[in-house]
Subunit: 315 residues, 2 copies
């Protein structure tokens, strides 16, 4: 698949940060930045710019806040044309500061939102757009949203200056025909906007669903190294680059950073195909139920977990 408009967007540090409280070592983040640069990846997301009032700095690593100074420090001396992104939760905006774009290492600000918070998302998009940033709106947990409300939200986004609107399968619940439907719906409701896709791998469908998104015109493609991310993780960047035929991409540095950094990290923290996340995926439930299960003594009692989650549907 070769389409020059396609942008590969890495969220290794941002989505991976959700499983280690954003506590990556600087040398890890720097190695990822170097590898992605060499591989020709278009965007790298470092984490969230979260409120330190809501999330005290003693409880989290630096990538929960992504201060401009920290990004400059960790990337210093590495020549790169890759763009830098940070994410902000629309419903958790407080005292965070955003410098004008030309004073910041950040190129893009992605606003994560639920449908109910789209007004807040649009406020934030307007604010950071006016500062010069590229912007996206990532509508989370779309597999749980009633379509009329979703359409209403998309119509609002269509009228704001956001550059990209993202289909986000937070629960890893969707399969190809549903992805096709959503990508087409987003295009129809937001004409002229780019469509992005962010999949989770509960059912081993993150890469397949991303391909489905590409086929139907999504151009912003989220992925992460070795799939690192919350619960089962994301679409694997190495698979995505292996699939895309744009000669600007180079797989070798990606495989090198996986062998040197991700494989050892996987020994310390857990992500990937694990049955409790498969269960929450097929039942369209929040992955946190799986995370909780995996942290307790019954982490491998899959049949019981499935029966429990089925019962929760009835209650």
């Amino acid at each position: 698949m070769y389409r020059p408009q396609i942008k590969v967007f890495d969220c290794t540090i941002r989505d991976g940060g959700l499983i280690n409280k954003h506590c990556f070592e600087d040398r890890f983040v720097r190695a990822v930045y170097e590898a992605l640069t060499k591989a020709g990846v278009d965007y790298m997301e470092f984490g969230y710019r979260s409120s330190k009032e809501l999330f005290p700095a003693k409880d989290f690593g630096a990538w929960k806040y992504c201060d401009d100074e920290k990004i400059l420090e960790v990337t210093s001396g590495i020549e790169s044309s890759m763009k830098v992104s940070i994410m902000v939760d629309a419903h958790r905006v407080k005292e965070q500061v955003f410098a004008p774009k030309d004073k910041s290492p950040v190129h893009m600000i992605r606003v994560a939102t639920y449908v109910k918070d789209i007004d807040k998302a649009i406020d934030l998009v307007n604010r950071v757009h006016d500062l010069g940033y590229e912007t996206t709106a990532n509508i989370m947990a779309v597999s749980t949203e009633p379509e009329p409300e979703l359409v209403e939200g998309l119509k609002q986004l269509a009228k704001c200056p956001v550059d990209v609107v993202y289909v986000v399968d937070s629960f890893g619940a969707l399969f190809s025909e549903q992805i096709e439907h959503l990508v087409k719906l987003y295009q129809q409701q937001c004409p002229g906007k780019e469509i992005g896709i962010h999949c989770h791998n509960n059912q081993q469908l993150a890469f397949g669903n991303t391909i489905e998104g590409i086929i139907h015109g999504a151009n912003f493609l989220d992925a992460s190294l070795y799939g690192i991310g919350r619960g089962p993780g994301n679409c694997c960047l190495e698979l995505l680059l292996g699939f895309l035929k744009n000669p600007k991409f180079n797989l070798t540095p990606i495989l090198k950073v996986i062998q040197d950094y991700l494989i050892p990290l996987r020994e310390q923290i857990e992500w990937g195909y694990l049955i409790p996340f498969m269960v929450t995926g097929i039942l369209n439930q929040h992955p946190d139920f799986g995370t909780k299960r995996r942290s307790g003594p019954d982490k491998d009692k899959y049949a019981e977990f499935y029966e429990e989650r089925l019962e929760a549907l009835d209650s």
Copy 2:
């Protein structure tokens, strides 16, 4: 997805046997047989009926040969309406004996073949069809076959009594649009035959590609418990049953046998998403290159392996 014609076909013991020389303990095979029965799976494949002249019995476990007596022994006392299958390689038929269907516990004989051996496959299909068995032709490594030769082979199969013709992505190299193309091609060339699909998971596409097959009309769906199988393994049975909406399927016994048997087994033998198999998949090469790499000291030197396999393409 609900379509009454769909048959779920488990190849846990057969494809899994390729990574342990078919040496499963009887209690394991029996537990799988019981779990699949309770789950409502339609077919279970026990292994190969191989020639003992070509493959001496001292080198392999019982499921390399699948003698009728062995199948009867391991299933004795378990009431089941699930059908039993065995596989035979078309190019390795020698002294093997097949009893008439009504004297055997086997219902289906699947003939694995390359395009070049389709005449041999048809000979075997004719022979075991006349003995009363259901039959399939599984055209292996289809991602490496030139289409004119494939079409020629399909035309021959169309004229023989085989019941099912299988799209087999042995190298885990195909993505959804290619699966769509092949399923439609098989339907066109073999009108009236059922189409089957057997995917490998090199690129985490086995389940997604199986869904694609279903969408376009494939009714015989191969899968295995926790994906066990050669190299990266197969489509996960638990994912497939989670997706299919026929109320006859029950996921709980599947999750139970995975937690009790497959998770401990995975500590002893290796399958699943591993970068060397991802590399052979994206390059459309035989998974044995990955298996060899994984058995040596450089098993986690992915970048070097990728460069080596790229060079092999040029040589």
